[in-house]
């Protein structure tokens, strides 16, 4: 009798994308993992099946996720294709927000000053020589960029540096640096309305701002309008 009324902590469903293992998010973690082990043990499958694991509203840390994976991989017939969760920690969430946001700095970045952003950086004002602007995303300067700009500081090679007046002494994108010396051919005669990007040849190239739509269409985050 008790067998029948017992709540199922682990349900297996077959969908067109393969098996879905839904793990209950209300019960104790230890109960869930015990039942998972039992279920995996008694499965009657043949061949190799891909399973998606849904953890629902339960937050699993890396160690717990590994335990779940190991429990499923105990069966020679099951492979985890992905683990899906409806929750993330505040920390992860905050980081995602910061990475995707654009920060605005209004003022002049003077010699010796550093302005840093976790996502994109918009500077309204000038960046003077020896002033430094750093962003994990792209850098847009509404004003004269005459100092040092580092876009994609955590490795994003798709990041760009655009300025109303691009006359920087140093341009850095991801881990590639270019010193803007006079003999550099990419330095155009007219530094107005230009952008710098990492060319597929591995060097930093400079082009008209208007070319960005072709060079980096993915940067557009525009929604709405008609």
């Amino acid at each position: 009798m008790t067998q029948l009324t017992k709540q199922q902590y682990v349900t297996i469903k077959g969908t067109k994308d393969g098996l879905v293992l839904r793990l209950d998010d209300k019960c104790a973690y230890s109960d869930m993992i015990a039942e998972l082990r039992k279920k995996v043990d008694e499965d009657g499958l043949e061949g190799l099946a891909e399973v998606q694991v849904h953890t629902g509203n339960r937050y699993c840390n890396e160690e717990e996720l590994r335990e779940i994976m190991n429990a499923i991989h105990d069966s020679p017939n099951l492979r985890v294709s992905k683990i899906q969760s409806d929750v993330i920690t505040m920390e992860e969430s905050n980081r995602k927000v910061l990475e995707n946001q654009s920060e605005t700095y209004i003022g002049i970045v003077r010699s010796g000053q550093v302005v840093q952003a976790e996502g994109d950086l918009v500077v309204i004002g000038d960046v003077n020589p020896n002033g430094r602007v750093v962003a994990a995303g792209s850098i847009y300067v509404l004003g004269r960029l005459k100092g040092i700009a580092h876009a994609g500081s955590s490795g994003n090679a798709k990041a760009v540096i655009a300025a109303s007046w691009l006359e920087a002494t140093h341009l850095i994108i991801a881990d590639k640096m270019e010193t803007m010396t006079d003999e550099l051919t990419i330095l155009s005669e007219q530094p107005e309305m230009e952008c710098a990007y990492l060319h597929p040849n591995g060097f930093i190239a400079i082009d008209r701002l208007q070319e960005l739509r072709i060079l980096r269409p993915g940067l557009s985050s525009f929604k709405g309008g008609s």
């Binding site: 002049i108 003077r110 010699s111 010796g112 020896n130 002033g131």
Partner: protein
């Protein structure tokens, strides 16, 4: 209640001390009660330029450390009836002898008795600079038409903007007309656009600045001298008057210049 103005530049040798001495004198000539403070401890000069070297008894560090009262340390300039005083820097110690808090208290005390406190800042951005700006309400940045001086001014303005004082104003010193007119030196417009702060005035380069400093008599005392006119104009602007900027084209046009001026009207 007076106003404390710090005169700073970042780079050395651009004329902070000369500017302090001349502006102090110019304000005193306008009938204001002025106190100059030399904060360049260890490398004091302001007393020499004002010709007050021989009359120093106590100095800034003596006041801060309580060895004397501030009134005892102030050196009076006898050319002005109770108009100009100097608080000299100490020569035997260094900039770490005082801290910003002590400086602030001193300036606040002096502001009660004087219309203007001009603080002559040492070169650099270290302790001496921090002490000098601590008590200031306003700041004047001195630069020359050289890229190195402008870069340092930019750095200093950045540091000043982080402090709780009014936006700094700019003085461009040692302007040589012919270099600026021929485009061989940065021009006034380039410098003000680059630094993006208000221009308080320009001072023409003049040999008499050096000779008069050596005599201990600030050049501003000579009303006909071109540099003196610049300093007097700045003093008037500090007092709130609106004075047009000095023209950089030479006063006496040559023959062709005269000819041109007939046609270009």
């Amino acid at each position: 209640m007076g106003e404390a103005i710090v005169i700073t530049s970042g780079k050395g040798g651009v004329g902070k001390t000369t500017t302090s001495a001349n502006l102090g004198t110019a304000l005193a000539l306008q009938g204001k009660k002025v106190c100059l403070i030399d904060t360049d401890i260890g490398l004091r000069n302001l007393d020499v330029i004002l010709g007050l070297e021989n009359r120093i008894i106590y100095d800034l560090v003596d006041v801060i450390e309580g060895r004397c009262k501030v009134q005892q340390a102030l050196v009076k300039d006898k050319r002005f009836e109770d108009g100009l005083f100097l608080l000299p820097a100490a020569q035997t110690t260094d900039k770490n002898a005082i801290n910003p808090e002590q400086m602030k208290n001193l300036v606040t005390e002096l502001k009660r008795d004087y219309d203007y406190i001009l603080i002559d800042c040492p070169a650099g951005i270290e302790q001496g600079f921090k002490n000098a700006i601590a008590g200031a309400d306003r700041a004047i940045v001195v630069t020359t038409p050289e890229i190195s001086a402008v870069r340092d001014a930019d750095r200093i303005i950045g540091l000043l903007e982080q402090e709780d004082i009014e936006p700094p104003k700019l003085i461009i010193n040692r302007i040589r007309r012919h270099l600026m007119n021929s485009g061989d030196a940065l021009d006034v417009n380039d410098i003000t656009t680059h630094l993006s702060i208000d221009l308080l005035g320009i001072i023409l380069d003049d040999e008499n600045v050096i000779t008069s400093s050596n005599k201990g008599e600030p050049v501003v005392m000579d009303p006909a001298n071109p540099a003196a006119i610049g300093y007097r104009n700045i003093a008037r602007r500090i007092l709130g008057e609106s004075v047009p900027l000095m023209s950089l084209t030479t006063g006496k046009p040559g023959f062709f210049g005269k000819l041109k001026s007939i046609f270009v009207k």
